[in-house]
């Protein structure tokens, strides 16, 4: 995997599609890459509109109070990114600069800014829904940047990337139906774009002992379905879309109730915009102009 992933990354860099920023998993994106991302986002927006999804965009930073309530720290402490800042005076500033000048770790002199990098674009949505939902629940179209601290040479495993999510919040049956509907829609969309997709039961990379139990439960209940395709390695296909049932995890944490008075369930489908783009580049070649006309027509009708 490592060698194959590295060679695909090298090809992407040589073609100028990704621009290295000097750390694994952080890249600039060239125009040809962004054109595909934009086209995918337009397609997902139009699919979401069929569900009446309300389009909202949040910044890639969430208040720490929101992050705390998501319980993300329990499941993924190793992926988190916290914002820290300088809160000192002139003397503190002098110490900060002295540390920087001598090559010491000046970040130790920073303090929490009470903000976290969003690890999932749907986090900021839930506190806006505290209270009672309309009858039948509600559906949202969200897109934005996520951060997960997992530096890798695999170009599909970026530290900063964009998710495009269609989120349903409502009753348990509605959440399950949303998840299943979007497994189908996602599969259709990717197949239209010429990708060989497989839907597989999956689990999140939950941390530690507790995580192993969460992962087993998630698989047993088939809460997470991933659409996987070949990106870096044919032996280890990459998940490019994930469709998930959260049960009442966010409903309970954020005090969201259905019109019937039950704790709300939620479900989301998340398209990894960079990952789908990378899968297309892998499948159809690095010159987007020369992709099959069926694929180009679907992306740019």
């Amino acid at each position: 995997m490592g060698i194959v992933a590295t060679s695909f990354r090298d090809e992407l860099l040589a073609a100028g599609l990704l621009v290295p920023l000097g750390a694994d998993g952080l890249y600039g994106r060239a125009a040809a890459f962004e054109d595909v991302v934009d086209a995918l986002a337009r397609l997902i927006v139009s699919l979401g509109a069929a569900d009446g999804a309300a389009r909202i965009r949040f910044p890639p930073i969430e208040p720490r109070s929101v992050f705390d309530r998501t319980d993300y720290l329990r499941s993924f402490p190793d992926l988190t990114g916290a914002v820290v800042t300088f809160r000192g005076d002139d003397a503190g500033h002098a110490r900060l600069l002295a540390a920087a000048d001598t090559g010491d770790d000046w970040t130790e002199l920073l303090e929490p800014a009470d903000a976290m990098l969003c690890p999932a674009v749907c986090h900021p949505l839930y506190p806006t829904l505290t209270g009672t939902l309309p009858a039948g629940g509600a559906t949202y179209d969200l897109q934005g940047w996520c951060f997960r601290h997992e530096p890798s040479v695999d170009p599909a495993r970026m530290q900063a990337f964009r998710q495009h999510e269609i989120v349903y919040v409502g009753d348990a049956a509605g959440a399950r139906a949303h998840r299943d509907r979007w497994v189908e829609r996602g599969t259709e969309l990717l197949a239209d774009l010429g990708l060989d997709v497989e839907a597989v039961v999956a689990n999140d990379p939950f941390f530690g002992r507790v995580g192993r139990m969460l992962a087993t439960n998630q698989r047993d209940q088939e809460l997470k379905i991933e659409l996987v395709v070949t990106v870096a390695s044919a032996d280890q296909p990459t998940a490019v879309v994930s469709s998930n049932c959260h049960e009442d995890h966010f409903g309970a944490a954020f005090g969201i109730n259905t019109a019937e008075g039950d704790v709300a369930h939620s479900a989301c489908v998340g398209f990894g915009l960079e990952r789908v783009t990378l899968a297309l580049l892998r499948r159809h070649g690095l010159d987007v102009e020369r992709w099959p006309s069926t694929v180009r027509d679907r992306l740019w009708p």
Binding site: R209, V210, R212, M213, T216, N217, L223, E247, D248
Partner: protein, 83 residues
């Protein structure tokens, strides 16, 4: 005694939709509202209460599916520690 501790842990951490005291030992806890996250809290609280660690192969849904199932695992683990 063991049952009482298990019921106390479930009452505090299980977020069940029913009265734990009146629950049949064989009742399916997932049917009465035990979620994945709650079952993890139950697991951790049981480890604290009985002062043991569940072996990895037992960190699964079925271990916590009923009071009787939890009891069987707890009995096995506490006996193993005495041996």
């Amino acid at each position: 005694m063991t049952d009482d501790v298990i019921r106390a842990v479930l009452a505090e951490h299980g977020r069940l939709a029913v009265d734990v005291a009146a629950l049949d030992p064989d009742a399916d806890l997932y049917q009465v509202g035990l979620t994945s996250h709650a079952s993890v809290n139950v697991m951790l609280a049981l480890e604290d209460s009985f002062d043991f660690e569940f072996p990895e192969q037992m960190l699964r849904k079925r271990t916590f599916e009923s009071i009787a199932a939890i009891r069987a695992v707890v009995d096995g683990l506490t006996r193993a520690e005495v041996d």
